[in-house]
Every structure is written in structure tokens, then in C-alpha cells.
Symmetry: D2
Subunit: 429 residues, 4 copies
């Protein structure tokens, strides 16, 4: 499908949510874009994404303020709050910010909520390209369970598609390259919103600009894998992910479950990387301003799983506060090669919380990850037979260390620290 | 419990929904009250109830108009639309109409939706008796799945109870005797709204006027029988009931299920009686303006079941258009005696859609109902042993015919027509 | 209904499960009967019940042994294992033991599993009073999820009712007064087994001997309250109850839920009292041989709740090992008066785990129980208004202490220890 | 994974269930094998599968006989009933029949039920290669909801894997090439039996003979797609499929849902083809002895969907009774080319029950199927854009007619009869 061309490898970028919640400012976005251009672009990182509530002038944290007024144009479309995004003044929207980011060779993304602002519906404002008004296309009983900004759109109504078209026409005009649509892949009240996903697909297709489509929150239902694949580029496998071990532990099952439904252009999403300096103006995840609570071994586990599984990689921390360790996690070329070029990733075995994943690299190489999810240092191993290796001996390269560490025959077996991971490239001899 | 005193027998009255949907006018209400005073009051009928949307000036049928503005006072409380209820002009609310009805020796009831108007929340209007405003007490993700007027109330918020108190203080001032609260006993989105039921109980208790509390829609969950009993006088066992056989057929199971949770002051409710001239300005129940689609036998079945089970009796048709037959269903003193005085009603047996119910009357009498739910005339019978009758012979009185029809021994057995019923009083000899 | 006559007050007795699991012997049963006759009979205790697996010669604990052969007669009916019940030799069954118990002025009860022995089905043995054989009436896919002894009975099959009749005819012949039927009120695989409950009701009714019918395990579904009431005398509200605080804590909600469906002859059952010396040959409830793990305050809480709610009281410990304290819990006449004579029990309020229950005694007295379910000593109180008391002052009698403790006006308020209870009788002055 | 090699294209064959239910005989199997060798082998058909109950000497139809004894060896393993499979006499099992089929260049398959015979458990027979006995490894509460032959195996028990190994060692010795395991991919009682699937995978891997593993019944849960893919070759998407339109209609949704989880060696299975002469000794599917009730257009629809989706093709009728039409459905080389060589099959669109599927052939060709699921002849069309075709014009070949039918530009649009299908190959010009 055509839209799969927009993301032939899993997208890599930065998102403002983990550090700034609903409050990020233009200056902060630019600062992170600058950092990315300087330090990360060469490694494949490219998207800079402004997350939720950019229309809310007075947003103060990650907590939503019920029924708060939002900045909106005459056609029921939300626009950036000028106090937070000064360059958007005079109706210019996100266009100047997008240009700033494009000029650095990067791409620009925004977050939106499914639907139409409740304030538009109660004011009954106009819909561009249609004679109907907001009240005519809103789906009365379709709300978000955790945010009061929007009503859903009733796809059976005249003007419904026109509304979504008018949104994406505006985003195309701004120069948006990536849209994260929220309250759509799962809802505690209604499940997945299939009809709105299809309307959004059509709206992007007609707007004339390629945009990567990312769907949140999860868990997106595997039962709708066909729908998701045929309409989006990535979708969340979980509810919000934070720097808490049991959430990371839990991701292994989800990756296992989704590992047969992944390919060029469609990427089940393990969510953002809560690394480095996060929680700056967010109170989500049971904590506030902090460096990630993951141990270094847990960070390696996360990066290894996300890489071999090929989840999109969206860094959640304030990039400018990265220490060397954190930066090193994002700039290991051999690990990122597995992320960008591996194929056929699968869980080879899971026994007593010792887990092995593999994928295939170029030239008959194999990427192999050993994970120790137990609470003590453990030997983790896989036999050649389980890996489908028929040769007698293989060469092993430690991807995190970037060094050759000898050969193995019959099986690969290593001591792995508590909650830690080993990541290898295997070459036949 | 004190509130049980307000309805020691199952309430009987008229409700505007089945005939006028969301549109009834003051004149129509008065007309039906007049009829009731003249023709029905002596038989125990007393409540005159204005159903939903009395604040909506432009209501046109039973179909709700999404996001339509409603008449409201400065304290976020809905008030009658003056064009429909002229006597409510100048802030008098329903007081004049209530007085009119009281003057006839009848009682006055209104319908309300759980919660606070969405328009109040978006305008952030005041709450009487509190410093908070509408936005502070609304529960953001609590909506009605089928009507866009209201948001639910968050009982944990300061000012929440004050809001409900202010509502019932107003209703007490108006002289309201009966309140049917909607979107509360069941919701396809959220189940039962227990916390709002408790707030409403408290609000009534504090308002100083006894009001019967009726909860809609159903099916109210039997698992919450204790909550319902301790807070309300009646609650719906089903979603809306109409003149359709399968809905009536289905009511037998529901009555069976609820038959152990019924007593003086707490009445599981089989819903209104869609009899006579209905659908005048309603398009619900798959039909419009009509005389009831129930056959006469089905009407007898309904009246017999509602009576022996002791459901509240709320007539749904335009009373002034009653024919003799319809009126006769409402004025049979012997049938109504079973409704007002029977105790211990229970389904004795159900076999192949032949159903027998009994209850106890005064002086060792037994009320016995034989129902034929099959599609052909059938013999329906119950043995004395099943009825717990130890005497050799009993006298039988046909309650619908008001005549003695001889004696029976060992068993009661009658041919009952398709979808029909027989209703007897048994006296030991 | 007639069978309600067999248990006009909630049954009181002893059951072998909590102390002896699946292994009790005749000598132990007699010993407990002796103790009951001497120490408890005068207080209303009367049933002596042999619990599960009395047909299994080699039972060793509360753990079931899959597919183990059982003692059975030629008509597919289980009979006592002679090694454990010597008096049953020569086909006498439980008759001699029942006589022994009857001679002491007590009543005799047994446990059975729903259905027909799997061994009967695989051997295809005969059914008394029918030409069919075991294989013809077994319901192929109806098993117990936790015990392999039986298949369920298919009520649509010829001979099905005859089988159950033959069982209860045998029990009548033995002199059984109480039958606890297991795997029937709830099943993790299938829910409630309504058809078999009805067959068993009919089988008892035809056998000519009154027997109290008790259904296990729970939670029996409240949705089937009518079915349960009309067919049984008691049914479990929970899965197995043990001496663990959270199970006792949890019982308050269950009693609240069921409190509107209780009356003379039909008793929701909070399960046995795991008091005194239990776990002698049982490994259930996460422990083995011990004195109850409940604190004395928790024991008072349990006895008070069971009494005011009017649950059946079935003592689970080895009676002969009772200490004075334990015996005192069973022989407090004032507490037992509330259990035998209270009416209209209901939870008056529950706030922050402080709970108040009341019921009505004779001569306008009120039984009042204050419970403190929190983890610190707390003041628990109820206002006269909440209790429906209109007099100015009441006299208070402490039921556990058997002493008058003065008067109260406006409200009843006491400090209650952690997990403890106060139990009063209130008399108007 | 290695086992994917055993079925790199979707398996094609014959299965005895649709025509002979539980009763097929050796002679009938041979007769169908003869027919296949002569008429179908050259088109890729190769498996001859004996379905359920081949151990039951007295099986009479598709209806199972509860608790009936089965033929079994001393190691708790079921063996063929000699009266039905004479060549199995003297302990030779299915070896002679397998050889007969192999000699014709075909492959031999059998059906088994998950688990161990109940009769083995109740007799407590031995397990080959282990000291334990049947009772030790049976899972007591694991039964099949529709057949009484077996208990499930408890994978945590010593000897459990040995039992399954002993089964597949026997099948390897017999020369079995295909095993359909039943009561395992879905169960109304327990869902999917993941642990037994894994044991069976290991048992096949260790037995030394490649066998295709097919799992029944459905619907297998998509949530377990990874498990299924990594352990089996095919699994059912539905419960039993018969010649009833709504079942065929329903299959479109299931194929859509599963279409992202399909590839060389793992094939979601739309079930057998109930074509030709079926129901000979089966009473399933609401009918008995008959020619398929599908219209010719429905037959084309089924064959087209199964082919473009790449379901396994298992013919269910008595092959020897095929008429020319039926045979033609199985021997259209161009249709079978799409089945064997298509890739990336997906539903392109579905609107008002008009459905379009496509897949990719070799040399930039496209397979295109137009379906009309409505009840009247309809125009079904797809635009080039929806198909991802960028060329101006394509050549069209009608696969069922084996003829070129000209060219198309911009879109493909055809009238399709009621419940019918069109199947094309498109070539760029």
C-alpha cells in the first residue's frame, strides 16, 4: 500500500510528552531539534514531534484541565496557542516551526486528538468545504475517557470526511510530516475507532503530502491487525509506557504477540523511550522531574528489545540534558543497523523469564538478543538447532560493545545480569 | 427505611412519554389530569408525570436533538420551556402546574436526567449554595449514551451534593411528588451510577418534601438490589417497553428474576403500559401514531402480570382517547385489589411457555394467574400441591369477568387463548 | 414453599471439612456429636454433617486424588467406605450412624457431589427404577473443575430424574436430615447448574423425608435468587471461606448484596466457621493443623456478622478441642437470639470501612452491630435518624458481654478495636 | 522455522469428514486415493486424510457416541479399528494403508484428538518410555466439550512429553505425513490449549519424520498468531464449515482479519470444501446425504476466496462421485497457480457487501477477485489507484474461463452475479 512507502524503516525521533507533558513551548522544541541535528541526525533520527494540547494556552503539566477553552480557527480547527508558539501568530500556524525543522534536515510531527472540539460543537461553528456545521458531524456519544477536548466524528454524516480533509489540508500547508492521532487505537469506553481511522487515511491520501500516521493509545487490538496495517504506519501495543520495570517486563509478551504482523511501512509501536531527563513538567508515570528510573541494564534491555523487534524509536527525554551514557544508547551504529535492517524478528524461546529473540541480517548473519527478566544474574542460552543454524561454528560480535568476542558452536550461552540483555551479531564461518 | 413510606403500594399514574415523546405541552398534561380526576382517581390512579425534555422549547418528537440549547436558570438548573408550559413564565417553574394537579387531588411528577447540563459546564455557570461552578463538579467522561444534554456529577467534588440539593429544593418548592431520574439505573457505557443514586437519595431526604424516586432505564442490575432498595422506590427491569409481543414475552423472565426483591416501598418496574392511543408525537418502538398493537389477549396478559407481580402502573396513552375496553382495563376493582394488596408473588411453574403465577390475598385467599405464552390456545394448569393448597376444594372467582365460576379440586386447569391470561381469586371452602 | 418449613431459622451445626478435609471417620463424627449433645444442643445446634469423599477408602487429606475408585452399590450410587465408617458394613450405609446421632436428639447430614460417578459411567452400571444405564443419563461434557469423581446428569434424558430419586430414597432410608450438594451453585466452567438443582428438589420432595438442602460452592449468582429460593434452603455466597482476614473483609459486601433475599426457610450462606482447632487433616486455606488464625476481635466480627445477617452457622473445628473462649462464642444466648429471631437485617451505612448493620427484634427492639474493618482502632457511629429511631433515648445492652451499658440519645457511637465488632440490643425507653 | 519447510505452499488434499463423518473405511479411503492419483495428483493434490474416530469399531455417523470403548494398545495409544481398517490387523496400525497411498505418489494423514483416552486413565494403563501411568499425566478437568474420548495432558507432569513422543513415534513408524489435531485450537470451555500445542510440536520434531501439523477447530484466536505460526502449519479460522451461505459470507471477514498473518509454511485454514457428494454418513451441517447445497456461483466464490487467500484446500466430498463441474473446480490450472504462487493477498475494499481482493503473481502480474455478496446481480469495481496500479492500461485474463478478455484502464469493473465471483489475472501492458 502506498502509505507504507512513507516509513519503510521504523521511524526514529523525539517527542515532547515524556519531558514536557501537555506544555512544551516552541523554544524547547527548537532546542531539541537543534540537538538532534547536531548529534543524532547522522544516526537516522529525524522526527521532532509536538505532543498533546498545543492549542491550550494555559497548560501547566501532563494533567488535563477539564472543559478548558482551546485556540481554534473559524472552521472548527485547533491552532497553536500563540503564547506557547510565538511564530504561529497571525494565522501562520505551525508553518514557521516546521520550516525551522525542515531547514535542519529534519521532519516535523504533531499530535492530534480524534474528533472535533467540543467547544466547536457547542458553538456550532463552520466546517470548511461543507455547508454543514460542527453539530451536524459530531457523534454525540463519542468522547475520550481521559480528556474533554473533543467529540468523535460520525462517519455517516455529510461533511464528516470534509472536516478531516480540512484538517490534513491545513497540516499539509504547515508542512507536517508525521501525525500522532490519539484516543483512536484503543478506548476504554469503545475499543478501536475503525471508522475514524479510515477517514483519516483518506484525508491524508487526498492532502497531497506524505505523512506518517501513528495511532495511540494502546493496546491496539491484534484482531484488527489488517485494518491497522492497511491504514496506518504505526500503532501502540500498550497504554502509556514509563520507566517502570513491570511495564518493560510486560512488553515482551506484547512484542511476541505482534511479531507476526510487522513489515516495511507498518510497525507495532512499543511507545516512547523514557530515557534521560524526563518528567520536567509531567506528573505521569507516578513520578515527576527525574532522570529515568530504569537501571542501565534495564535501559539496555529496552533498547535491545525495541531494536530487534523494530519498534519505532521515539526518545522522550530532554535531549539537551543527555549524559554520555544516554547519548551512547542512541548512537550505536551496530545496534541501529539491527533496528533498520533486521528482518523476521521472532521470540525463539522463553523459559522461566529467560528470553531469546533473533532476526536476520544481511549476508546470512543473525541478530541474537539474550534477555534475563529474572531477579538474579542468570545464564541464558539458545541451541543452534533452535536458531535454525546448521553450520558448526559461528563468529560472535557484541553489538553494544562493538567488538568481536570469539566463536561459538552448538549453542550460544551467556551470563546476563539482572534485568539485562546481550545483543549479538552472528556470522557463519 | 423512611422513603419506603412514600410508596407503600406500587404507584399508579400517567406518563407523557408513550404518547407525546419529548414534546408534551401543559395543555395536554392538564387534559390528562382532568381525565384522571374524573375517571380513574377513585380506582387509585394518582400520579401525572411530565417526561423528558421539558426544558427544550423546540422538541418535535421522541427523537433527541444533539447539543440543542435548553432553558436553564442562573444556577445551572433546567427549567420548563415557557412556550410549552406557559404557566411557568416569570420564573414560576412547574409550581402552577403542580398546583393545578394537586387541586384535583392528584400528584405531580417530573422526569430528569442524571447530571448537570453540558451547556452549564461549557459556560461554567454557578452552583447554588456553593462557591464552585459547573465545571468543578461535572464528571468529564460521564455522559449519557443516547442524549447529549448532561454531564454526570463527580460525587467526590466539593459542591456536588449541593448541586443535587439545589435541584430537589427547587422541585420541592414547585410541589413535585414524584421524580423519574433517567440514565442512572443502567447505562450501556458504564452500568449503574451508584454514587449519583446515593446523592439523589440524600438530596430528597434533605429537601423536606416526600417524593417517590423512580430510576430509569433498565435493566437495573439485580446484583445491586440492596443499593436500589435502600435508595429508591422503583427501578426499571428492562430497557424501554413497547407494544411488541417479544418484549412482553421477555418480561416474564425478568419478573421471575426480581420476584424475591419486592416489598412495601420498593418496586421493580416493568415500565409504562403502552395502551390506548400512543405514538402521537413519538416515533419510538418502531412505529408512530396508533392504537396499541397488542391484541386484547396480550393486553390482558400484560395487565395481569403487572398486577400480580405488583409493578408500578403508569399508563402511557392519551387518556382522553381511551375507548371503553381500554378504560375497563384500568378500572377493574378486583384486579386492582390484587395489585394493591397481594403479597409474596411468585412464579409457580413455567413449562413449555405455559406459566403460572400466584400471590396471597387477605383471609387466606390466593390470586392465581395462568398465562399462555405459546402461539396456540393451550390448557394451562397447576396442581394444588404446587400452589401449597391443602384443602380439598376451592372456590374460583374470575377477576377480569368479576364473576364466580364454581369450584376446583386437586388442580386448576383452564384453556387459555394464544398470548392470553386468566386471573382468579381462590377461596378455601 | 413447603421446603422452607424445614429450616424456618438458619441451620446450626457442625461440619467435618475444616478439620478433617476429605478424611473424617465414624469415630470422629460420633465424638463431635457427643460433644454437641452435651455442650451445644441446648443452644440450638443440631446438625452433624459428614463432608466430601466418604466413599473414598484411602482419602488422606483435603487434596482430591484424581480418578480414584470409590465405593459404589450396584445402582451407581456411592456408599460409605467401610474402613472409615465401620457401621456401614453389610450394606447398611449411613443408617447406623444416623441412628446414633438421632438418639442424641441431633440431626444427621451428608455431603454429595452433583451427578453420577464417572466410574459408573465408564462401567455403564444400572440405574434403580429405570431401564437405562449410567452412560445414558450422564451429561458428557459436564464435569467438576476441581474433583474427578462425577459426571453431571442430563435432565432431558429418560432415567435422569429416576437416578436422583434413587439417591434420595436411599438417603431417606438412611435417615439423612440435611444434604449439602456440591459443584452445583457455581462452577468456574459452567456457572450455576439450574437443571440439576430442580431435579434434586423434586427428588427430595418425592422421597418422603424432609431434608434441608444446602448448595455449594459459591458465589451463587444473585441473578438466580428466585431459582435458589424456590428450590433450596441455603446456598453459598462465596468460594471456600477460611481464617484469613481478607476473606472475612470481603464477606461484608456479599452480605450487603444478598441482604434483600433472605427469609424464613431460605438463607444465603456465608460458609463454615473456621474456629477452634482446624486443618487437622486438611491442607486447604493455605495452612494445615492449627488453631484458627483469626484474632479474637476477628472472631467476634465474624460471629456478629453471621448472626445479624442470619447466615447458617456451621462450626468447622474439632469440637472436642474447643477452649473456653471458642465455646463461649457458640453459647452466648443473647447473640444467638439475634441470629434466630432478628428480621429485616440490613447494612445501615458503610463509610471508610466503618460498617453498621441493624435488624429488628421482638417488642420494638433493635439489634445493632458496629464493625471496624480498618487497621486501627476507630470510632464507629450511627445516628438515630439513619436507624429509623424516633424516640429520644434508647437503652443499650451489650450482647457479647451480656450486660446493660446505659442509654444513648441521637446516635450510637463507640470505639471499636481493629477488625473488631460491637453488638447491641436497643430498647426504646 | 524448520517445520514451515513441510508446507511451503498451502496443502491440498482430501478428507473423509464431510462425506463419511466418523465412519470412513479403508476401502473408501483407498478408493478416494485411487481417484486422486488418477485425476488430481498432477494438479498438486496430494494428502489423503482419515478423519476422527478411526479407533471406534462401531461408529455409525458423524454423531459421537458418549463413553464408547475404543481400540487401544498397551501403552494408552489409540489404534485403528480392525473391522474398519482390515490391513491394520496384527498390530500393523496404519502402516499398510500409508504404504498403499505412498505407492501412488500421495501422502497420508490422520486425525487425532488432543490428550489421552479416558478409558486409559480409568484403567490406568502404561505410558511408553516412562514409569508413570495414564492417571499421572491426565489433566483432570481438561475435557473436550463435544466428544468424550479423551482427557487433556498436564504438561507439568513427568511423562507428559513422553506420552506425546510415543504417539508421534508410532505415527512416524506408520508413515504418517499429516496430522490434524482436534479440540486444540479453540475450545468453548477453555480457549486455545497452548501447552499441548507446544508438546505436540516437540513430539513431531523429535520423531524424525516431517509431518504437516493442522490444528482444529476454530476460531483459533488471532491473539495467539505467534504461537500458532511457530508451532503449526495450519489452523482453523472457524468452527466447522458447511455448504450454507451465511458461513461462506462470514468467511470473508475472517480471511480479512487473518490476512496479515500468512506465509510460506503457516496457513490460516478456511476449512474443508463441502463440494460434490457429501453427507453420505454424516448428519452434520443440518443435512444428510446430498450434493452440495451451494449454487455454482457460490462454489466459484468459495474456490476463488480460498485460492486468492491461500487457504489449504481439503476436498470434503466422495471424490469418485464427482461430476464434471465439480472436477473442473479442482483442476483449473490458472486458478491453482494463484493459490500456489500468489503473495501478499489482501482485501482491497469492501463496500455494501461488494468485496475486492488482490494478490501479486510473478512478473508484475496481479490476481484480482471481485465478489458479490449481495442478493442481487451487482457491478463490482476497483480503481487502479486502490490496486496500486500505476500503468495506464492492463490486460485481463479470466482465470475460471482461461481466456483473455481484453484490457482495462483506470478501473476494473464487472457485473457479478448474486453470491458470485470473478477471478482475473492482470498484466501490465
Amino acid at each position: 500500500m502506498k502509505h507504507h512507502q512513507y516509513a519503510l524503516t521504523p521511524p526514529m525521533g523525539w517527542n515532547s510528552w515524556d519531558c514536557y507533558g501537555a506544555t512544551v513551548t516552541e523554544e524547547e522544541v527548537k532546542g531539541n531539534a537543534d540537538y538532534m541535528a547536531e548529534n543524532l541526525k547522522d544516526f537516522g533520527w529525524e522526527y521532532v514531534v509536538v505532543d498533546i494540547q498545543w492549542s491550550e494556552a494555559g497548560a501547566v503539566s501532563s494533567a488535563y484541565r477539564p472543559f478548558i477553552p482551546l485556540d481554534m480557527d473559524e472552521f472548527s480547527r485547533l491552532i497553536p496557542a500563540v503564547n506557547r508558539f510565538p511564530s504561529s501568530a497571525d494565522g501562520k500556524g505551525f508553518k514557521p516551526l516546521a520550516e525551522y525543522i525542515h531547514d535542519k534536515g529534519l521532519k516535523f510531527g504533531i499530535h492530534i486528538m480524534r474528533g472535533i472540539p467540543r467547544q466547536a460543537v457547542h458553538q456550532n461553528t463552520a466546517i470548511l468545504g461543507s455547508d454543514v456545521r460542527a453539530r451536524d458531524i459530531a457523534k454525540p456519544n463519542s468522547i475520550c475517557p481521559w480528556n474533554t477536548d473533543m467529540y468523535g466524528i460520525d462517519h455517516t454524516k455529510e461533511g464528516a470526511q470534509e472536516y478531516y480533509n480540512s484538517l490534513f489540508d491545513l497540516y499539509a500547508e504547515w508542512g507536517v510530516d508525521f501525525v500522532k492521532v490519539d484516543d483512536i487505537a484503543d478506548s476504554r469506553l469503545y475499543g478501536i475507532h475503525a471508522d475514524e481511522i479510515k477517514m483519516i487515511r483518506k484525508a491524508i491520501d487526498q492532502c497531497g503530502r506524505p505523512m506518517v500516521l501513528s495511532l495511540s493509545p494502546g493496546p491496539a487490538p491484534l484482531d484488527h491487525a489488517s485494518l491497522l496495517t492497511e491504514n496506518a504506519n504505526m500503532w501502540r501495543m500498550t497504554d502509556d509506557f514509563w520507566d517502570i520495570w513491570h511495564l518493560l517486563y510486560d512488553m515482551f509478551d506484547r512484542c511476541y504477540k505482534w511479531s507476526k504482523t510487522i513489515g516495511p511501512g507498518y510497525w507495532p509501536d512499543a511507545d516512547m523511550l523514557p530515557l534521560g531527563h524526563i518528567g520536567i513538567r509531567s506528573v505521569d508515570g507516578g513520578a515527576s522531574d527525574r532522570y529515568t528510573r530504569f537501571t542501565k541494564d534495564e535501559q539496555l534491555t529496552m533498547m535491545t528489545l525495541w531494536s530487534i523487534f523494530r519498534s519505532p524509536l521515539m526518545f522522550g527525554g530532554e535531549l539537551r540534558d543527555n549524559d554520555d551514557w544516554t547519548l551512547s544508547l542512541l548512537t550505536n551504529e551496530e545496534v541501529l543497523e539491527a533496528h533498520q535492517k533486521g528482518t523476521g524478528a521472532r521470540q525463539v524461546l522463553r523459559e522461566n523469564d529467560k528470553v531469546v529473540w533473533m532476526s536476520y541480517g544481511e549476508n546470512d548473519t543473525i541478530y541474537l538478543a539474550l534477555f534475563n527478566l529474572t531477579d538474579e544474574n542468570s545464564q541464558v542460552e539458545a541451541e543452534f538447532d533452535q536458531l535454525g543454524i546448521s553450520s558448526v561454528e559461528v563468529k560472535l560480535r557484541d553489538l553494544w560493545a562493538n567488538e568481536d568476542i570469539g566463536t561459538a558452536s552448538d549453542k550460544i550461552s551467556f551470563e546476563v545480569p539482572v534485568h539485562g540483555a546481550k545483543f549479538f551479531k552472528l556470522t557463519n564461518i
